[in-house]
Symmetry: C2
Subunit: 201 residues, 2 copies
């Protein structure tokens, strides 16, 4: 998160990093403008110069996460379509290579809480729509490559991409909101043992 190719100014990039840190420290429920300002190293007023409300900051943060995804997640053109699909699934379930499982768990919890407010908060809803749309398109692209290379069956790529996305987001929802202790490994097993055999020729 040191580069700045995302279209965010340096200051806004710093605020987004401060928001990221504040979510890690306090979770969504404990997140306040003050906690973000503390991580930003400036006053609440300095923060309000850029964003009116916590909702504005979090909508910008979702947009920032999407731009981070875009920079981080690169499809390895030398891999097989199956490997490309699994690489993308793994980064969604386990985070980028340098992230701890606790860090990812906390961030997923916070994102779920923000997402659950989307029915009533259009700013969030719009951002989640973009994130889902971008992920769905990536999956569609990989699936179409696999069909063209004759290693995947001739499926409806859009429906198949949605199917995979629902397994992942449903699994994350289940994991964070029940005592069932569904692990990322179990979600991955549904993908490898049930979804992929359906897709592969």
């Amino acid at each position: 998160m040191t580069d700045n190719n995302s279209g965010f100014s340096d200051t806004k990039q710093e605020i987004m990093q401060a928001t990221y840190d504040a979510i890690q420290q306090h979770g969504y429920a404990g997140l306040t403008i003050q906690s973000i300002a503390d991580n930003f190293g400036k006053s609440k007023a300095a923060l309000h110069y850029h964003y009116d409300t916590k909702e504005d900051i979090l909508a910008a943060f979702l947009n920032y996460l999407l731009s981070e995804f875009r920079e981080t997640i690169q499809i390895d053109e030398d891999s097989s379509p199956e490997q490309q699909l699994l690489d993308l699934v793994d980064v969604l379930l386990y985070g980028p290579d340098n992230s701890s499982s606790e860090e990812i768990f906390q961030m997923q919890t916070a994102l779920l809480e923000i997402q659950s407010q989307s029915p009533h908060k259009q700013l969030y809803r719009d951002q989640f729509t973009q994130i889902y749309h971008w992920l769905g398109n990536l999956f569609v692209e990989i699936i179409n490559n696999g069909i063209a290379e004759n290693v995947f069956r001739d499926v409806n790529a859009h429906l198949t991409a949605q199917h995979l996305l629902l397994i992942i987001v449903g699994g994350i929802l289940n994991r964070h909101t029940t005592n069932s202790e569904m692990s990322p490994d179990q979600i991955r097993e549904i993908v490898t043992a049930q979804f992929l055999p359906y897709l592969k020729k």
Copy 2:
């Protein structure tokens, strides 16, 4: 919701019905003890005699929903395993026969909001655990019947049941939190066009 076989006393049953109505009218965000008391037709004090907090009422409400599910959802032993599976999927996506799509939409939204607080509220978490557990077991039973009748492949029934559950809850999450307009019909199509062909012999 007129019978009382659920182990709830008549008064508690009335409070649960009042909670159901209040959620329909105000959604989760607008839900207050007062709005439940209004539907209950008694004072807030009368409500507090039975439940200390809104959290207590909602945890009892989740438990009530599960007991309603248990009474409403009966597997038709004369149907094929495939039809039994689809009947259960349909009641989860579209609600019981007499419910309007708007009513189901509002209830699903409220449940998602309650569910999203489960990481921090053990009372909710325990109830959602029971609901998922009960649904998962129903799916496992149907899948095992299908395997025994030789119409389903010899799959890992538990993993397959989880897979189906994730498609449904992931689909409901997607539908309510993005502008993608994923409909119950589309979620059902993923089940019929992709999940079932994997399962069927």
